[in-house]
């Protein structure tokens, strides 16, 4: 076991972890932040996507020890003081979620996408979300939501 320390959703955290612990397991089990989901074991589905140092990554595909010292944002850290992030608001208003399982990873990927390119075409959004699988929505409303959020995030 080694001690790992990082900042998660703005708070410094420190915990013991075996070196083979995945960041996703650490978040779900050690930090009890169960909003990050695990939907596959081949790094394809994207349900586990979190933000690490400003970039979206699949938390099932990195070791927690690799995130030592990192700034991590999970779904629980998107809203601030009860105020929803524009992406959360847009997902709600555009009915971009059904069962909600893929939603946390999907939104964090979308935020990363918009942060790095606020002027997204529909094709850019669809390509940019290829690492996140949704089985419920058929993506139509997700694309709409990302467009709406992008407009708001641009301000």
């Amino acid at each position: 076991m080694t001690t790992v320390s990082m900042t998660v959703n703005g708070k410094a955290v420190s915990a013991e972890a075996a070196p083979d612990t995945l960041l996703s397991d650490f978040i779900r089990e050690s930090l009890a932040l169960t909003g990050t989901h695990v939907g596959c074991d081949t790094s394809q589905c994207g349900a586990c996507v979190v933000m690490v140092d400003g970039s979206s990554i699949k938390s099932c595909s990195i070791l927690v020890v690799q995130a030592e010292g990192a700034k991590v944002t999970t779904i629980e850290g998107l809203a601030s003081d009860g105020e929803l992030h524009p992406m959360q608001k847009a997902f709600h208003e555009n009915h971009a979620l059904q069962c909600g399982f893929c939603t946390p990873g999907m939104m964090i990927s979308a935020i990363d996408l918009v942060n790095k390119n606020p002027d997204l075409s529909e094709a850019d959004i669809r390509h940019g979300l290829e690492g996140n699988i949704c089985r419920c929505t058929g993506y139509h409303n997700i694309v709409k939501a990302v467009q709406a959020a992008a407009a708001e995030m641009k301000g």
Binding site: D20, S43, S56, C60, S61, I62, Q66, N132
Partner: protein
């Protein structure tokens, strides 16, 4: 996950020594292939040596008609770089998905030499040089077989240098499920002549197609390939594409790459 020792190296020689000293050491770069492999039990190294803490392994520098990409440079940084040949940036922007591009590295990709990876084709076609902590290796000598390279035990890639081509383009026919290349063809024309590298197809991994190269050397146009076909012998075959379909796509993707060279 298997039990392994983890070590975050702060310097290259430390990393190399650690890998060499381990019973079954592995270098951890972005981990986009290695960690999923360990998770599924396909790989079980005794020691993982993380290069993530060695600062000078990442970054892109250009000088004297060539660009050098640090081994730990992630695909997203290559995709967004104005310093690398546009064909290389475009290729990097199509690797895996957004999250893979944010983590996966050029060094990791070519050291792994997955037969369906994109970077090996770019290296071969552009005539890249793979620089390690011990030497420099020409791409033509580097990729030696499926998941096999010329790297010695414990030898670590530090950077890859790409000469600037006159023209280059990559065309990828994506495997619908995995998003790896079912067929990927990188075409480049430069001081070295015309080079056509094919990934996703060869039973021995990435390779150059001499026949397509000579046709294009004679006339660098898609029309030069109008009646060309390649043999399906020695090509991979799976549920998404049998060898004959791959053979067809190789020619088609080559044509499209040539057309994209403008």
């Amino acid at each position: 996950m298997s039990n392994f020792q983890y070590m975050r190296a702060s310097a290259l020689d430390e990393a190399a020594a650690k890998v060499k000293g381990a019973e079954d050491g592995a270098v951890l770069a972005g981990g986009m292939t290695l960690l999923p492999s360990i998770k599924l039990g396909l790989s079980s190294p005794s020691d993982l040596v993380d290069l993530g803490g060695i600062g000078d392994l990442a970054g892109i520098t250009s000088a004297g008609g060539s660009v050098t990409i640090g081994a730990m440079t992630c695909h997203a940084d290559v995709a967004n770089s104005g310093d690398v040949p546009p064909a290389l940036a475009a290729m990097a922007s199509g690797i895996g998905d957004r999250q893979v591009r944010n983590r996966g590295t050029i060094g990791g990709s070519i050291a792994n030499n997955d037969p369906a990876a994109d970077y090996p084709a770019a290296c071969l076609a552009l005539g890249a040089t793979i620089n390690t902590d011990q030497r420099s290796i020409a791409a033509d000598d580097f990729f030696t077989g499926l998941f096999e390279t010329a790297l010695n035990d414990g030898e670590i890639i530090t950077s890859v240098s790409f000469p600037t081509p006159d023209k280059a383009a990559y065309q990828k026919f994506t495997s619908p499920a995995s998003r790896f290349a079912l067929v990927g063809v990188f075409v480049a024309a430069g001081s070295d002549g015309v080079r056509v590298a094919v990934t996703g197809c060869g039973q021995g991994g990435v390779y150059r197609d001499a026949d397509l190269e000579s046709a294009l050397a004679a006339s660098f146009s898609a029309d030069a390939l109008a009646d060309k076909s390649v043999s399906s012998d020695n090509l991979l075959s799976d549920i998404h594409a049998a060898a004959d379909y791959r053979a067809h796509l190789i020619v088609e993707m080559t044509k499209r790459a040539v057309a994209a060279c403008g």
